[in-house]
């Protein structure tokens, strides 16, 4: 069952908080560790099951689309597709290795499989099968996975804090981390149009809607500047773009001008746009991601800057290189510094 929790309002736990975390508002601590908590703040507009509805709409004109899951249709929103197209839906059982190899087999026969599970199971359990049966063969399989990064309080068994690092290293694979309901809807269409294997991180259930307020359209392989600002450039992906926009609003009140560059395609990275923005000198560059600071967007961006000879003050907002605690998401997001408030504090500290 879905528990609605209010994000970003708890103080960091002493000893666990990051040194650079700033002042945050005190609210009563939530103590539940809900399996799947909505990321939506109270009163925030949301759309239900954006991936499920987008795939179902797409399937109307694309008869080659089939949906496969490993006992997680409900929690990856694939159930919407399954209800609309029961004969194109394949329940493979709780067997992720089979899920990926069978998806490869169906792609070999000309179908366009969307295979869903949790990000931990795809990246850890089924790695070899995605790598060799799908990616090495450039098969047209779309792997769509819920619970990316720190989006559940269940602890390391369900927290895919390393999936981007794992999948970035896999040749031929396109890696996407959309921000909100709009992004997910548009990305679903875009990855279906792309000929080749894709890994997409998924927010499911009632997913916040944020990007409709910006001049934005998802384009595979493209980063988009959502707001400009002269002091700080935040490069972000996934729901951290949402957090970055919120943090930018808060910082503006204190006279700090923050630009937010949303880069939902992690691989191939839109190096050109990132470099263009990074070369607009003097700004602190912060990469914000819902992932370990090891091997994700942050290190990808750092690599681009280094290789291109762009030197800048560079900081990362991301999860620490450790197995994370169980607990309520707002608590954990504060504890590990990826809530909007902790991000505000971090940026203020870095600016000095």
């Amino acid at each position: 069952m879905e528990a609605k929790t209010k994000p970003g309002t708890q103080p960091p736990t002493p000893g666990e908080g990051r040194a650079e975390v700033g002042q945050v508002t005190k609210k009563p601590r939530l103590t539940t560790s809900a399996m799947i908590a909505s990321l939506a703040a109270e009163g925030q507009p949301t759309r239900p099951a954006p991936f499920g509805h987008a795939l179902t709409a797409l399937a109307e004109t694309r008869p080659e689309i089939v949906g496969l899951t490993a006992d997680l249709s409900k929690y990856t929103d694939l159930y919407v597709f399954a209800q609309a197209y029961p004969d194109r839906y394949y329940q493979m059982g709780m067997a992720e290795q089979l899920l990926m190899s069978a998806a490869a087999g169906m792609a070999r026969e000309g179908f366009l499989p969307f295979a869903t599970t949790y990000a931990v199971f795809a990246s850890r359990r089924a790695y070899d099968f995605i790598c060799l049966a799908i990616a090495e063969e450039r098969l047209n399989v779309k792997i769509v996975c819920a619970l990316p990064g720190l989006t559940t309080g269940y602890g390391p068994s369900h927290q895919a804090t390393d999936d981007l690092a794992i999948f970035r290293a896999m040749p031929n694979l396109t890696v996407v981390d959309p921000c909100d309901a709009l992004d997910i809807e548009q990305a679903t269409h875009a990855i279906a149009d792309h000929d080749g294997p894709v890994y997409m991180r998924l927010l499911r259930g009632n997913v916040p809607l944020v990007l409709d307020r910006y001049d934005y359209r998802f384009e595979l392989g493209k980063a988009r500047l959502l707001r400009d600002g002269a002091d700080v450039l935040v490069v972000a992906a996934g729901f951290m773009t949402m957090r970055a926009l919120e943090a930018a609003d808060k910082l503006e009140k204190d006279g700090v001008k923050v630009a937010v560059l949303h880069s939902p395609t992690i691989k191939p990275l839109d190096e050109r746009t990132i470099l263009e923005q990074a070369q607009r000198g003097g700004r602190l560059i912060v990469v914000a991601e819902n992932h370990s600071v090891v091997g994700g967007l942050g290190e990808a961006v750092a690599g681009v800057l280094m290789r291109s000879g762009v030197s800048a003050r560079f900081r990362q907002v991301g999860l620490p290189d450790k197995f994370l605690d169980a607990g309520a998401l707002p608590t954990l997001h504060d504890r590990y510094g990826i809530s909007a408030d902790t991000m505000v504090g971090s940026i203020k500290n870095w600016l000095g």
């Binding site: 089939v66 394949y90 493979m92 059982g93 067997a95 290795q97 089979l98 990926m100 190899s101 069978a102 998806a103 490869a104 087999g105 169906m106 792609a107 070999r108 026969e109 000309g110 179908f111 499989p113 070899d128 099968f129 060799l132 049966a133 090495e136 063969e137």
Partner: protein
Amino acid sequence: MATTHSGTAELSNVNLVDRAFRIRRNALRMGAVQGQGYIAQALGVADVLAVAYFHALRYRPDDPEWEERDRFCLSIGHYAIALYSVLIEAGVIPENELETYGTDDSRLPMSGMASYTPGMEITGGSLGHGLGISVGMALGLKRKGSKSLVYNLLSDGELDEGSTWEAVQSAPHWQLDNLIAIVDVNNQQADGPSRSVLNFEPLHAKWDAFGWHVERVNGNDLDALAAAFDRARGLKEAKPRVIICDTRMAKGVPFLETREMTHFLRVDAHEWDLALEALDAGRVR
């Protein structure tokens, strides 16, 4: 224009003896190119492949991607030398390519990969992948209303892999009567006799319990193999089929058959010619 090999009608057992002999000969010639390889497996499984490609499968040698072909998936990538041998005999790969086996830029790498070789349906090698991919292909073929069958050759050692059993459990669930698994039981894997590495018996009872139609035959008996393939293909029940083939490593070359640890067979330089001579001698006999 295209010739189609299609099923039972065309070849007598006499032809199959010839086919199996030439498959073994191709394998030995390729082994000699590299001076090493999984030659014992190739010699052991040659009769199974002869029956598969010259008795059972529908395919067009000059059009390996013909939509109506039966799919033959080699889960065991290291058996590539065996599959190349039969693909050469079938006319899918020109015979002169045999000289390139395992060399730089060859279409015949030492482990089988789909993107390299015509007639190689999947990339095997990471053991435990093939049967799951075959389940997906069988599901796909059913979706298309195709009459084509999916054959998947796996090994007894591959039964150690848990992913194989995910697929074994799945195929009967989907009533995949278009899927025929072939298990080569030669009782040899990297660290020794398979039964001592991890006992896989009772195989018949296991596959039967999972809901498969099971045939178990002497995999070096062409008549028995042909009959087993016929029964597996002719079955009316809506369930997948498995043909468990007990084979002898290095079959056809007596002085290699008796060696221990035949998984990756040591053959000295001068022995390749001796092996070909021994094979030829056996054919005359």
